[in-house]
């Protein structure tokens, strides 16, 4: 396949991949962040100690984490059809991608928040702060660099998942690589999509690392030394 033939397919494929990653990452943040916070708060020794809630949420997250993505995708087809109206295409792929990313991110949020010094929580409680205040003014801002790192890891994993989703007709770079590179032995298509995926992952990682470091430095040595 020549470059002229490939080019018109490449751009939409890139766009599809980005579209799927961004939307599913956004959904993972919106749902996974509160879940991660809830896991910490309801833990024994947490501010909202609640064994039942903790066990249930923990179990859901664990099950979600342990299902291989390819199986999750197939299993969710009826659900996806119900929500989106179809189970094919980038939009439909966002459903299993988000469902897979939510528990993944929730665990990373949990770990990040656990690392916040309990002394800070007590300081805010001693000022008369409520649990909600503690979450808003202490837990989230203080763990922000770790949360950004967690989001980066999630986004990188999602790039991998979109490629897999391509195998079942989600579109995107994975779809291109499988249809042309694998099934039609177009080695150059395979190589180009590979390079683009590597570049994409690298850019996400660098961007995430940079942001996390900038945020962490704010609290360390802001004078630029």
């Amino acid at each position: 396949m020549t470059w002229d033939e490939l080019q018109p397919m490449l751009l939409p494929a890139c766009w599809d991949t980005l579209y799927m990653v961004l939307w599913s990452a956004a959904i993972a943040v919106v749902v996974g962040l509160p879940l991660g916070v809830l896991l910490v708060l309801t833990d024994s020794g947490g501010l909202l100690r609640n064994t039942a809630v903790n066990k249930v949420v923990g179990a859901i997250v664990n099950v979600g984490r342990s299902l291989p993505f390819i199986i999750l995708m197939v299993a969710l087809i009826p659900f996806t059809r119900y929500v989106i109206g179809t189970s094919i295409g980038a939009e439909a792929a966002i459903v299993p991608l988000a469902v897979g990313a939510i528990p993944f991110f929730a665990r990373l949020v949990e770990t990040a928040i656990r690392e916040v010094d309990h002394g800070l929580v007590e300081a805010v409680q001693s000022m008369g702060g409520s649990t909600w205040t503690v979450v808003r003014k202490v837990l989230l801002p203080e763990s922000l660099p770790s949360l950004v790192s967690g989001l980066t890891t999630t986004a990188v994993a999602l790039v991998g998942y979109t490629a897999m989703a391509g195998a079942v007709g989600a579109g995107g770079l994975g779809d291109l690589a499988i249809r042309y590179g694998y099934q039609r032995f177009e080695t150059n298509v395979m190589l180009i999509t590979l390079v683009i995926l590597v570049v994409l992952v690298t850019v996400i990682q660098l961007l995430g690392d940079f942001t996390a470091r900038a945020l962490a430095r704010r609290g360390k040595r802001a004078s630029g030394a």
Binding site: L47, L48, R49, D117, G119, L120, E122, A123, V124, Q125, S126, M127, G128, G129, S130, T131, T133, K137, V138, P141, E142, L144, L215, R218, G219, K220, R221, A222, S223
Partner: protein, 352 residues
């Protein structure tokens, strides 16, 4: 200002029960600096954390500024609005400062005001005023990581004062600081106590801290307060462990059958030549076994251990003379009596 009655706190861990507080009655008067000392594990932190209900007492009551916090808190583990409002009137400073690293110094000081719902402009005015009070105006825009330990604690103190509390709690606020910085932080606490009429309850394991700033002190052991009172009262209590720790005067009698007397001078009496008067009036030889002069809570206090010839019965008159001169006189339990005491503790040790 702060009163605890029959305060108990029992921790359950792995089937074992630890009574961290075992019936503590504490009374801190308005406007005083009150120090609680004791060994590690004595229950000091548990006590101070019970005062603002960060730790819920198992039983007993805590009253701060006339409000019964134990009643306010009710049964629920979570802090209700009433308890939170009461807490905002009690400042707290911590050993490890507990400043938010993602916020500037000024924003840290503003945090309690945010919680109180104070408007932005008013917050920043108040924060800058407090930073001025603790001498950190130029650090308002710095982050905690850029400050020294002493500066961090100043921020911690400014933050604790943001809600205009009547009471300040301090758990080992100077334990992570060097002696020089410790002194300056203690001076700051003393100044705030005098300028703002702030009541301060502080926990420490350093007697020097008590000496430097406290009006009153309590000694804790195994979850109980074993001694308490104003520093002056404590120094006047015969056999007080705190007094001895605060103000050690040592010295053993030169031989059997002599009377050893501990003298404590306050104010006026400190400047009179009492010993030479005593010697001249009764024509007796007096040996000085040990002596020290200290400034405690801003007052000059002297202590001296002297030895008079003859047994106690023969020295009733000279001792009366010393009392008349306004000195506090304790006949020291040294020699035979102390020897017996030492034996009995040895026996106890062996029995374990």
């Amino acid at each position: 200002m702060i009163t605890t009655t029959g305060l108990r706190k029992v921790y359950h861990s792995r089937g074992r029960e630890t009574a961290a507080l075992d019936g503590v009655d504490l009374h801190v008067r308005e406007g005083e600096v009150y120090g609680v000392v004791g060994r590690s594990g004595a229950g000091k932190s548990t006590l101070i954390r019970c005062v603002n209900m960060l730790e819920r007492p198992t039983s007993g009551t805590v009253e701060v500024a006339g409000t019964d916090l134990t009643a306010l808190a009710g049964r629920s583990r979570r802090a209700n609005a009433a308890l939170r409002a009461a807490r905002s009137q009690i400042g707290m400073v911590f050993q490890h400062f507990n400043l938010l690293s993602a916020r500037t110094v000024q924003d840290n000081v503003e945090l309690p005001l945010e919680i109180l719902g104070v408007s932005g402009q008013e917050r920043s005015r108040k924060a800058l005023e407090l930073l001025d009070l603790v001498g950190l105006t130029d650090k308002a825009k710095a982050y905690p990581a850029q400050l020294s330990g002493g500066q961090k604690q100043r921020v911690g103190i400014a933050r604790a004062l943001a809600g205009d509390p009547k009471v300040l709690l301090s758990d080992e606020a100077t334990s992570a600081l060097d002696p020089e910085t410790t002194r300056s932080i203690l001076q700051l606490l003393r100044d705030l106590n005098q300028q703002l009429g702030l009541t301060v309850l502080l926990i420490t394991h350093e007697m020097d801290v008590v000496k430097a700033v406290c009006d009153s002190a309590a000694l804790m052991k195994g979850g109980r307060v074993v001694e308490s009172g104003t520093v002056t009262e404590l120094l006047a209590t015969p056999g007080s462990e705190l007094a001895q720790e605060l103000f050690p005067v040592g010295g053993e009698p030169s031989e059997e059958g002599r009377t050893v007397v501990d003298l404590t001078f306050h104010g006026e009496a400190a400047t009179q030549p009492v010993i030479s008067q005593l010697s001249r009036t009764y024509n007796i030889d007096i040996s000085i076994l040990g002596a020290a002069m200290e400034t405690i809570g801003g007052r000059q206090i002297g202590r001296m251990r002297i030895e008079l010839p003859g047994r106690f019965e023969e020295n009733v008159v000279p001792i009366g003379f010393l009392r008349e001169k306004g000195l506090q006189v304790d006949v020291a339990p040294v020699g035979a009596a102390a020897g017996r005491k030492a034996d009995s503790t040895l026996v106890k040790e062996a029995a374990k």
